[in-house]
């Protein structure tokens, strides 16, 4: 006669525990500051919240002047790469439960690009390098009989990893070579060149290999693997760079 479903209250009604988390944010207001400064904020957070939620709470409830970029809030647009506890991460993909909240959480702008305000840097040098590798399909011929350009599954698999890039700059701004030499193309540009160099439908590989054979090209890479560790899309960035190096040595993809 009893229906078991109604005997216990739903578990969700129990209060979910929240924590006070301290954030130390490296701020810079070009109108006032001559140098960046650290400012701390205490925020009430749940374990499943993300660092981006903390930035929102700070901006909406404590200090409206806090400046940062974000758009999708779900790891797709690549707007909110920043240095969280000394490592490049997307704020929208970094959960509070994965951080040690017994200590303050350091949040600062990515390194190596000109700081504009708080967590915002000038991305133009980054995108300039991206444009320089010609990240678009170069094909002289029209597809056969007006159909798509056919490619086998195996041919597609060769560059599958590097199609996932969201241009967040986490890799490029984690690279010690890029910090000291802003002329270096950087991992992201090489990843996006890789995506077309190894595409069987593309005919511009040689041009791109020549561009990356430059003094500021792939040979700057010192294999520190910071880029691979930083990539929020899990792209094996250093491996892609190594493949481009080898393609240059072979003289073909």
């Amino acid at each position: 006669m009893s229906t078991t479903t109604l005997e216990q209250p739903p578990a969700a009604e129990a209060a979910i525990q929240s924590f006070t988390v301290t954030f130390l944010i490296r701020r810079f207001d070009p109108d006032v500051d001559t140098e960046p400064r650290w400012q701390d904020f205490d925020v009430e957070m749940y374990a499943t919240d993300r660092v981006l939620d903390a930035l929102h709470k700070i901006k909406w409830e404590q200090d409206g002047s806090l400046t940062f970029r974000r758009s999708c809030a779900h790891g797709i647009c690549g707007s909110d790469a920043m240095r969280i506890n000394g490592r490049n991460r997307l704020a929208c993909k970094t959960l509070i439960k994965d951080l040690d909240i017994s200590k303050p959480i350091y949040v600062e702008a990515i390194k190596g690009l000109p700081l504009e305000k708080d967590l915002i840097v000038d991305m133009e040098p980054f995108f300039a390098s991206y444009r320089e590798v010609q990240p678009f399909l170069i094909a002289g011929s029209a597809p056969v009989a007006g159909k798509e350009r056919v490619q086998s599954v195996a041919e597609r698999a060769i560059f599958d990893d590097t199609t996932k890039c969201i241009l967040c700059a986490a890799c490029t701004s984690s690279c010690p070579v890029f910090w000291t030499d802003g002329q270096y193309f950087g991992p992201a540009a090489i990843v996006n060149a890789h995506r077309f160099i190894f595409d069987s439908r593309d005919e511009g590989s040689q041009t791109r290999l020549d561009i990356l054979n430059d003094k500021e090209g792939v040979w700057r890479c010192r294999t520190t693997f910071n880029c691979t560790e930083a990539c929020p899309r899990g792209i094996e960035v250093t491996k892609a760079i190594a493949e481009v190096k080898q393609a240059i040595m072979r003289g073909k993809p």
């Binding site: 000394g86 490592r87 350091y106 984690s174 010690p176 010192r222 693997f225 910071n226 691979t228 190594a242």
Partner: protein
């Protein structure tokens, strides 16, 4: 109203807390192996520079050469030699690791493991070298 709103164009009363230039980037094995590789590479370079100069001295004046080499026979130099060998051994093993990482996809994926193997080989080599060398140095 927030304490510091967009309108308050004043620096906060509390002075900047720690780490003025931003935090140190927390790279992992790959980054630190590179830092060590560069430090040891540059250190070896300067050693060789000096060493070529002092060896060249023998052509200028054998007496001066003997005098200079004689000053090397001290315990402090003996300890310096341990550091030099340590640097060369690390640079050589890690140099081989970098070559593997550059040319072999498996090694690119397992560079962390390879780094710890380099550290292991370095420790073994130094354990074999250091006692013998120091016995030599201090028994003179």
């Amino acid at each position: 109203m927030p304490e510091t709103s967009a309108g308050t164009l004043t620096a906060p009363a509390k002075p900047a807390r720690q780490k003025p230039g931003g935090t140190l980037y927390r790279g992992r094995e790959g980054m630190w192996s590179w830092v060590l590789h560069r430090i040891t590479g540059v250190a070896i370079f300067f050693f060789l520079l000096v060493h070529i100069l002092d060896t060249a001295l023998v052509r200028v004046s054998p007496e001066a050469y003997n005098a200079v080499i004689g000053t090397y026979q001290t315990p402090i130099m003996g300890l310096g030699e341990v550091a030099l060998v340590g640097a060369i051994v690390f640079h050589a093993f890690n140099g081989l690791r970098i070559i593997l990482v550059d040319f072999w996809a498996w090694a690119t994926r397992h560079q962390k493991l390879l780094f710890w193997i380099v550290v292991g080989l370095w420790v073994v080599t130094m354990l074999a070298f250091t006692p013998r060398h120091l016995i030599n140095v201090f028994s003179h």
